[in-house]
Symmetry: C2
């Protein structure tokens, strides 16, 4: 992974010419492309591990698995949120771990956590390194040191139980690697977040990840049946029960705990028969409300395509513009809209897995319902265009940053009846905040991740980055959006997690006593407070919401 941005260092960057033209017409771009600083010029805080502590950790892990070199520390200094990238590109990471530890076994993992608790060393679990909410910042607080705990070596597939549709894996296993192993068995997990190329199963569980096909395959927590959490004081081990009435769900306490209670070292996950293929199709709705009505009916009749997403007019316009002579533009374009009598339109993408003998019938059923709600079928090329670029947005973000553009995404979820108003209010809050900063920009959104009772809204905003204070600018926008979300009684995060970015609004969502319950849990399982400090739990009563 690039230390200053997303993805494979071999990836060829650069905005397509058409996209560049569109952006130049829309928001102010820097004429000069500005890359990250040279890696040698990145200054990290002095490492504070000390010889004694380093020696004791080497005694547990072996010396090659305790790394204090510049590159290891740099690569574990941050996640991939906008503030992370701004800081890294400037060569000024907020923090860096004093060392990076690589446990090779569960026993080592338990020993390391226990030792760190004794030695008052803060531990930041590191799976795929893709947090976009500040979940990976190595916060030292009053601890003697802070280490990053890289779980990449704990990546075994421990067993497949085909009859029960379960796979048992270690927490550090990458989702893509698991998906490949399952494919060889004719199985799939069906979890495809935008960060698919990097995320680990433990990280997905710890953050309640939801993939692009979650409408069909469920959220990651729906796949988690059993698990093991290594804490600073023994492990919590839960068998893979299909269901249980044995009290409050300890599993649901560990899922979503973002490394603050311990490390999810083992998971038993539900799998399914792999589809023989996928069909992706595009649909144009006249407006957002018509599209939302169709999605709502698909979800409530329980025949929604596994991938179901609907762009608002702004996102549709941008998708067409960025496609720039590509298939989407050719198929849809403005001519198409005019021919259909639409002044504008809302593009939806649907993905159907061929995973049962009647997948064609299911697709026809969805087609009928969508057509009844005024959706016009654009065919497969539009769907394939989306599918081909489904993991590319984070690369695009790096290109935009190089052009001096602030770009970020945020997501929420609410009920169907509140969705339209929330879309309006959050869009407006972001637009207003951008204008108030003197940097008007683009705000767009899609509805995705359908449930019977509601859906997610996923916002993207772009604006010229303020050179003087890009993070203050970003924070104002983030705050405006978050306030609009909690004022709308919606959740502060649908699948990015809380990290540090969403902490100020958690109390509003959980109420003071709900938050107190989580604090009690934290004190019990991590009494020394070493696990991923500075994340998830705000001080009670200090809420921004």
């Amino acid at each position: 992974m690039r230390w200053w941005g997303w993805g494979d260092p071999a990836h060829r960057g650069g905005l397509p010419a058409g996209a560049l033209r569109f952006l130049q017409q829309t928001i102010e771009l820097d004429r000069q492309i500005k890359g990250p600083v040279q890696i040698e010029r990145v200054s990290l805080p002095q490492a504070a591990l000390g010889d004694r502590l380093a020696d004791s950790l080497r005694a547990i892990l072996g010396s090659e698995f305790v790394r204090e070199d510049h590159l290891s520390r740099l690569l574990h200094a941050a996640g991939k949120g906008y503030p992370d990238l701004v800081r890294m590109r400037a060569g000024e990471p907020q923090q860096a771990p004093d060392a990076v530890l690589y446990p090779q076994t569960h026993t080592q993992l338990e020993a390391v956590l226990s030792h760190c608790a004794e030695q008052n060393v803060a531990v930041v679990p590191f799976g795929g390194g893709t947090s976009v909410v500040g979940g990976l910042t190595p916060v030292r607080q009053a601890h003697a040191a802070v280490v990053s705990l890289d779980l990449s070596a704990l990546s075994q597939v421990l067993g497949i139980d085909r009859r029960s549709a379960l796979v048992r894996v270690q927490g550090g296993l990458k989702v893509r690697a698991l998906e490949r192993k399952l494919a060889a068995e004719g199985l799939t997990l069906g979890h495809f977040p935008q960060s698919y190329e990097y995320v680990s199963v433990g990280g997905c569980a710890a953050t309640r990840s939801a993939g692009q096909a979650s409408t069909g395959y469920g959220r990651f927590e729906d796949m988690v049946r059993g698990l093991c959490l290594a804490t600073p004081n023994q492990s919590v081990s839960l068998p893979a029960s299909p269901a249980s009435a044995a009290g409050p769900s300890v599993r649901e306490l560990i899922v979503g705990s973002e490394g603050t209670l311990g490390v999810i070292s083992e998971l038993t996950l539900r799998v399914r028969q792999a589809p023989s293929a996928w069909t992706y199709e595009g649909v144009m709705f006249e407006d957002l409300d018509a599209g939302m009505q169709a999605l709502c009916e698909l979800a409530q009749r329980r025949c929604a395509p596994a991938v179901s997403r609907l762009s608002d007019q702004a996102e549709t316009r941008v998708a067409l513009a960025l496609s720039s002579g590509g298939p989407l533009k050719r198929i849809v374009g403005e001519t198409y809209l005019r021919l259909r009598g639409y002044r504008s339109g809302c593009l939806a993408i649907f993905g159907f897995p061929h995973d049962t003998s009647d997948h064609r019938r299911k697709r026809r059923e969805a087609h009928r319902l969508i057509s009844r709600r005024g959706g016009r079928w654009l065919g497969r090329a539009a769907g394939q265009a989306w599918a081909a670029s489904r993991f590319s947005a984070p690369y695009l973000r790096d290109d935009l940053l190089a052009h001096g553009v602030m770009v970020d995404t945020l997501e929420t979820a609410t009920t169907w009846s509140a969705l339209s108003a929330l879309h309006r209010d959050v869009s407006r809050a972001i637009s207003d905040a951008l204008r108030a900063q003197g940097t008007p920009g683009l705000v767009m959104c899609h509805v995705s991740h359908l449930y019977e009772t509601g859906a997610s809204l996923y916002f993207t905003f772009l604006a010229p980055a303020k050179r003087s204070a890009p993070l203050a600018q970003w924070l104002e926008v983030k705050r405006a959006a978050s306030e609009a979300i909690v004022n709308g009684q919606a959740t502060i995060t649908h699948h990015h997690g809380v990290g540090s970015d969403h902490m100020p609004w958690l109390e509003h969502e959980l109420s003071a006593r709900g938050l107190a319950a989580l604090w009690a849990l934290k004190r019990e399982l991590d009494p020394a407070g070493i696990m991923n400090p500075g994340k998830l739990y705000p001080t009670i009563g200090a809420s921004a919401g």
Copy 2:
């Protein structure tokens, strides 16, 4: 509800002649029917509320809503488990509340809980009164008094959001009353536990209830979106989000808390379009493994009927015998089995709601799959026979008790690959324990509540009750079954809850640190320990498992 048993006092009891004959041939029955003692002869422990406390509670609730009379106390002295019924019929309840409180508003509810915490009064929340795991026993421990908190007045439907398929209700509302109100709107909750005629929505949430149609409609916790928990110190209030990644799930902490953290005073529940009708059908499988294979495939292809249950050979024999000339017997009978070349068979019941335009096609799809697995269709009469008596087992239990029969049920769940061995091991453990007591009996089971990764096993056992020590006899059987369950790595309860009966095995399931997490939660939300003491949380390290 009858104070000594189940259901409507007007219900005509008595075993049908055929059932009586079958039982007489199978297990030893008392010749004399023995009813419960006269209500006047039931001796309750002296009420210990005291004038000062009673006055202060009357000041909060109004005097008519603080009841200390014999009948009110008697009706809230126990749930409906076998030990409860044995004690009540003998006129010797283990405990009784010192008073029964009836809050009329959420404000009163909060005030009562806060006052009881100040005054060190234990509070047992009382919804439908149907716990079969000792969840309602008024345990005083070291508290100044113990009161039953009857929630029947908190029974409003607060609002229906049709677009979002949500209904907001107060926790004391009965599920049957809600279902009737929803029916008038063309909606359904789809939650039909055997205790359907009495249970409250708050009770179903607090115990993680699963209804007979849970394969189609989900468990009760799957229906819960938002909720409010009144605790002794303020309320925890959670909005009705379709999904969220905002940390560990506080909702899933409250669901399943069995009144030990507070009172679930409000719920927002997912509803669905009501089916226009249901089709119930019977199927005969040659043996349990063939039936399990079919159920597993139905679940994993996500086309399982909403009601799906498969009796083992013992339960099938009993069902046929008890039907006694009824439709089931006529249709299936031994002649049928012999004609089919089966020495015995396993009866399955499937229920299909007519809730989408393609319900017929879905039924045909299930038919095809079941037929491929050797299932022989018995038609609708067999299904209707089950549906007609779906809520009658608790009445039958009273008749059996009158005949001197010990009868109880217990349930667990495990993965598909472990289901057959668990069925064998638990059946054997119960049979062996009954024989060891000198009271050999009948042990039977059905598979129900299907999930992609496994299913529930629901056991029923009957044996002559030991007159001298019926509860010691029962406890030995319960212990043997529970040990077989936890040794099989299965859950100690699939939908009855923990109460006091399953407490000794909870640590085995959650591990010591998982249990410690629940204790931390309890101490935080109920620091005075007044909420339903003696339930759910065993002392750590004292596990029986």
